[in-house]
């Protein structure tokens, strides 16, 4: 299983792997907001966490469709389906590798983009923490969508649309936790813990659903 993790990580970092593409897209989305909104620093600071979260969500959706499709195109997926270790475990490892390659760079890039949005340290820290906890959930949800659309030649947009409704709760609780850290009366912990719960829930359900979809995608 370690072999699969290192292989997928290598693939996402090498040419055409798309780890950098996600960060570039994230930067592009967040960087154009100040130009569009105008130089109102207070307004930027207020919408900052939400914009960073929306940008991260969209970039996370960007690379999802390739999660199983490349393996299917070159036949690797067939060999993985034939193996005795549970397919759910294989999918879980692929999700982890995908998150390390595509999700973690977004989390690391978020403080810089927080500065673009004139956010203070607390807001930046809170946004980064919520992204760190929330983005794995996006990967696990996305795995199901990617597995369902694996046989479709142009499944990219379809995966994003399939996944988006399920990703909305992650966005809601991520953003509300980030705001709760900044605005005094509301407590930070409850929405943050719900976010953690969402991630753990989908960490169990996502790989299971994706494995089921892959088994039945056979042709």
């Amino acid at each position: 299983m370690m072999a699969l993790l290192t292989r997928d990580l290598k693939l996402s970092l090498r040419a055409g792997g798309g780890a950098l593409i996600g960060v570039l897209f994230f930067t592009a989305v967040v960087a154009v907001i100040p130009f569009g909104v105008g130089p109102d620093l207070n307004l930027l600071a207020r919408i900052g966490p939400a914009i960073v979260w929306v940008g991260a969500l969209l970039s996370a959706l960007l690379g999802l469709d390739r999660m199983f499709q490349t393996d299917r195109e070159d036949g690797s997926l067939d060999l993985m389906l034939m193996q005795e270790h549970p397919l759910t475990l294989t999918v879980l490892v692929k999700c982890l590798a995908h998150w390390l390659g595509h999700g973690l760079p977004l989390v690391i890039a978020s403080p810089l983009l927080g500065l673009f949005m004139n956010m203070d340290e607390v807001a930046i820290g809170a946004t980064m923490a919520t992204l760190l906890v929330g983005t794995p959930a996006l990967t696990f949800i996305g795995a199901v969508g990617a597995a369902v659309a694996v046989a479709l030649p142009r499944g990219g947009l379809l995966v994003s649309i399939l996944v988006l409704p399920l990703a909305i709760p992650v966005l809601i609780f991520g953003v509300s936790a980030a705001y709760a850290a900044v605005e005094e009366p509301t407590p930070f912990l409850p929405p943050f813990l719900i976010l953690v719960a969402i991630t753990m829930f989908f960490a169990v359900l996502g790989p299971f659903g994706a494995a089921l979809a892959l088994r039945n995608a056979g042709d």
């Binding site: 072999a3 290192t6 195109e73 070159d74 060999l79 193996q83």
Partner: protein, 214 residues
């Protein structure tokens, strides 16, 4: 060790592609699956590999050493039309990954990466990215993948596509060595492959009538 198929039939869309196929391959035996294009050779191999669910029938794996109820797919190595290698990674990384990913079967490990590369006659180029190799070299390396992890049953789908005659001869030798080692081979092919002992399963397609030629 034996691989038994009982009364297999498979569907593609609405149509029954074949039905009532039964065969038995014992240790050291090879079987060629022949037939026209579209007669269901690849589908049959994918059914045996457990990648497609058969409409009826089942595939059984019996061996003294593996536990009862071991799925047949686990005893198989499948080489399809696609090579299952990543063009971005080097040949060594590809082969090492598959060697580690496949658990040892019945406590037998396969060849090392260098031994396998030597067996297919491409020893000096394992450091190159797989995408740099020619189609024939890629196919040979895909064949090396069969050897880095031991599985008794090889399911080969058109193994000699994109190969020159010397490589075909090499493949025949490798298949014969695998059979001599007690393995089994089931190959869908248009070329005769030069195997002397192999049986032949003729797929006639669409009507589902098959005949077995000994």
């Amino acid at each position: 060790m034996r691989l038994t198929a009982e009364n297999l039939s498979a569907r593609r869309g609405e149509d029954l592609l074949f039905e009532g196929i039964s065969f038995e391959i014992a240790s050291g035996e090879g079987m060629l699956v022949t037939g026209r294009n579209g007669s269901g050779k690849s589908t049959l191999l994918r059914v045996v590999a457990g990648l497609l669910r058969p409409e009826h029938g089942r595939v059984l794996w019996q061996s003294d050493r593996s536990g009862a109820g071991t799925p047949a797919a686990e005893a198989c190595q499948y080489l399809g039309h696609r090579n299952a290698m990543k063009p971005e990674l080097s040949v060594r990384e590809n082969l090492t990954f598959w060697k580690n990913f496949f658990a040892p079967f019945e406590a037998r490990r396969g060849l090392s990466v260098d031994e396998a590369a030597e067996a297919v006659g491409l020893v000096g180029i394992v450091h190159l990215p797989f995408g740099y190799l020619s189609a024939g070299q890629q196919r040979r390396m895909a064949f090396a993948k069969l050897m880095v992890s031991y599985r008794p049953v090889w399911l080969l789908d058109e193994p000699t596509a994109a190969l020159d005659t010397s490589a075909e001869a090499l493949f025949t030798r490798l298949i014969e060595a695998h059979l001599g080692d007690g393995g089994m081979v089931m190959a869908a092919t248009h070329q005769p492959l030069g195997l002397e002992t192999a049986r032949e399963l003729k797929m006639s397609g669409f009507t589902g009538v098959t005949e077995e030629v000994w």
